[in-house]
């Protein structure tokens, strides 16, 4: 085995945020968002939590897998951004059906016509390689596309 092939074999895709998991068989098995539910009050969080912001409980927290569908709660259309990024993009707050909200790029909207008709648009998650880290591993992000129930 050459050096290059060995390195390639060790590479593995990594999620861009800690509240996203990639199964061993990704991308054959889809990535998903996860978080915790406070056993005391039911508040839901993306990712880990050491104490509940709502009731102050220090646990236990139940780990949960969130579904990949939801709707647009609010948004902005970002035109001016950091160097190296393509703009404009729709930066939304998506309320997942499972009761937690996530920051998300949303695709499938007419970006030249933002307005109230975007509220409540049904969206579904998909994942995509967005960059490569220093070790050459793919970095995977969660994005959303408009389904309108389809």
């Amino acid at each position: 085995m050459t050096q290059e092939a060995a390195t390639a074999a060790e590479k593995k895709p990594n999620p861009i945020v800690p509240f996203m998991k990639l199964p061993e068989k990704y991308p054959d098995e889809p990535a998903y968002l996860w978080g915790v539910v406070c056993n005391n009050c039911g508040a839901k969080y993306l990712g880990h939590r050491t104490a509940c912001g709502n009731c102050g409980s220090t646990g236990p927290f139940e780990e949960t897998r969130f579904g990949d569908e939801g709707e647009i709660y609010s948004f902005a259309v970002v035109h001016q951004t950091v160097p190296g990024l393509e703009a404009p993009y729709v930066a939304a707050i998506v309320d997942l059906d499972d009761g937690v909200s996530v920051r998300a790029n949303v695709y499938g909207l007419d970006i030249s016509k933002p307005g109230p008709e975007w509220f409540g648009k049904r969206v579904k998650m998909f994942t995509e390689k967005v960059r490569v880290d220093r070790e050459g591993n793919d970095i995977i992000a969660a994005k959303f596309k408009v389904t309108d129930g389809k």
Binding site: I16, V17, A43, L46, G53, N54, Y73, S74, F75, A76, V77, V78, H79, Q80, T81, V82, L85, E86, A87, P88, Y89, A91, A92, I93, D95, V100, S101, V102, R103, A104, N105, P114, P116, F119, E128, V130, R131, D133, R134, I139, A141, A142, K143
Partner: protein, 307 residues
């Protein structure tokens, strides 16, 4: 003489003022000075921003950049109350109009509604003129005990309330920063402590980092009822000469927003008006004013000043 360095995001300067106020109010010192300064050209407090990191989620999983974050906050208000981009834009029209009379403002140009709406979009619904510019700045305030003040003046400006709040839990926060709840809590506490109601205010300097934010704070500071902010700007109630002048200085939209300086500068602005020293932008007969700042993460300060 002890020196304390304060960092509290956009509320840095006002938190420093509050620390100085507590030092004097507690009796530990009889004179204290709060100095706010920032060189935004060097990124200021934002120097540690993660936008350029390898793992930044900017632009791939939504936005953490301020124009978008405050855009989303404004869009939430659109969703709840049918507020329009034009109503948000009117905030920029007003504040830039006020700035013409402020020699300390970074920009002193009027921006008619059409110009604001047609300006380059930064993060819809905020266009270029609806965003505070980047700039350096500094401000300072001297606080002293009532007894000490007698040595210098017969007409001091009083701190009637100094309040600092942080976020209580709300479900979407911090995925979507909640700029409302902590400001509402702070204003309620400030009015109680000052023994006044919002109707007793003669002027307000509030945190208009973006035009969208200003309208939300009309309601958060209880200057109008729930969902009435759009109507309030339509009526022109917050112009100098209106029912309750807001950001007579031109606001951050015109002055710029050097984070450390901002919170002290808007207190200084109120003091100048209460002393009748605000020149062409003077709010006539101002006796009571409120200065408001929020820093995300989050911190909200409100100071009520009285003559």
């Amino acid at each position: 003489m002890p020196v304390i360095n304060v960092a509290n995001a956009c509320a840095t300067g006002s938190t420093a003022f509050r620390e100085a106020w507590m030092s004097v109010a507690s009796g530990a010192y009889d004179v204290a000075m709060a100095i706010g300064s920032e060189q935004m050209g060097k990124m200021g407090l934002l120097g540690a921003d993660g936008a350029s990191r390898e793992y930044s989620t900017e632009g791939v999983m939504g936005t953490g950049l301020m124009p978008g974050v405050f855009g989303q906050a404004g869009v939430e208000h659109m969703r709840k109350y049918g507020t329009t981009q034009e109503q948000f834009a009117k905030v920029a029209v007003k504040n830039h109009k006020h700035s013409v009379n402020n020699p300390y403002a970074q920009y002193r140009i009027e921006t008619p509604l059409e110009d604001v709406l047609n300006a380059r979009p930064i993060a819809w619904p905020n266009t270029l003129y609806m965003c505070c510019p980047t700039g350096d700045g500094a401000a300072a305030a001297v606080l002293m005990s009532a007894e000490k003040a007698k040595q210098f003046t017969q007409n001091p400006v009083w701190v009637a309330a100094s309040v600092l709040t942080s976020d209580p839990y709300t479900p979407r926060n911090p995925t979507m920063f909640d700029i409302n709840t902590l400001t509402r809590n702070a204003s309620t506490e400030a009015y109680q402590k000052a023994g006044i109601g919002p109707e007793d205010l003669d002027m307000v300097e509030l945190h208009d980092c973006f035009a969208t934010a200003e309208l939300l704070h009309y309601e958060n500071l209880q200057l109008c009822g729930e969902g009435e902010a759009g109507h309030m700007i339509d009526e022109g109630a917050t112009y100098v000469g209106g029912k309750i002048p807001v950001n007579a200085s031109g606001g951050l939209l015109s002055k710029g927003h050097p984070l450390g300086a901002t919170g002290v500068a808007n207190i200084v602005e109120i003091v100048w008006h209460l002393r009748g020293e605000a020149g062409a932008r003077q709010v006539e007969g101002a006796k009571t004013g409120l200065a408001h700042v929020i820093g995300l993460g989050s911190a909200c300060t409100i100071h009520v000043l009285k003559k």
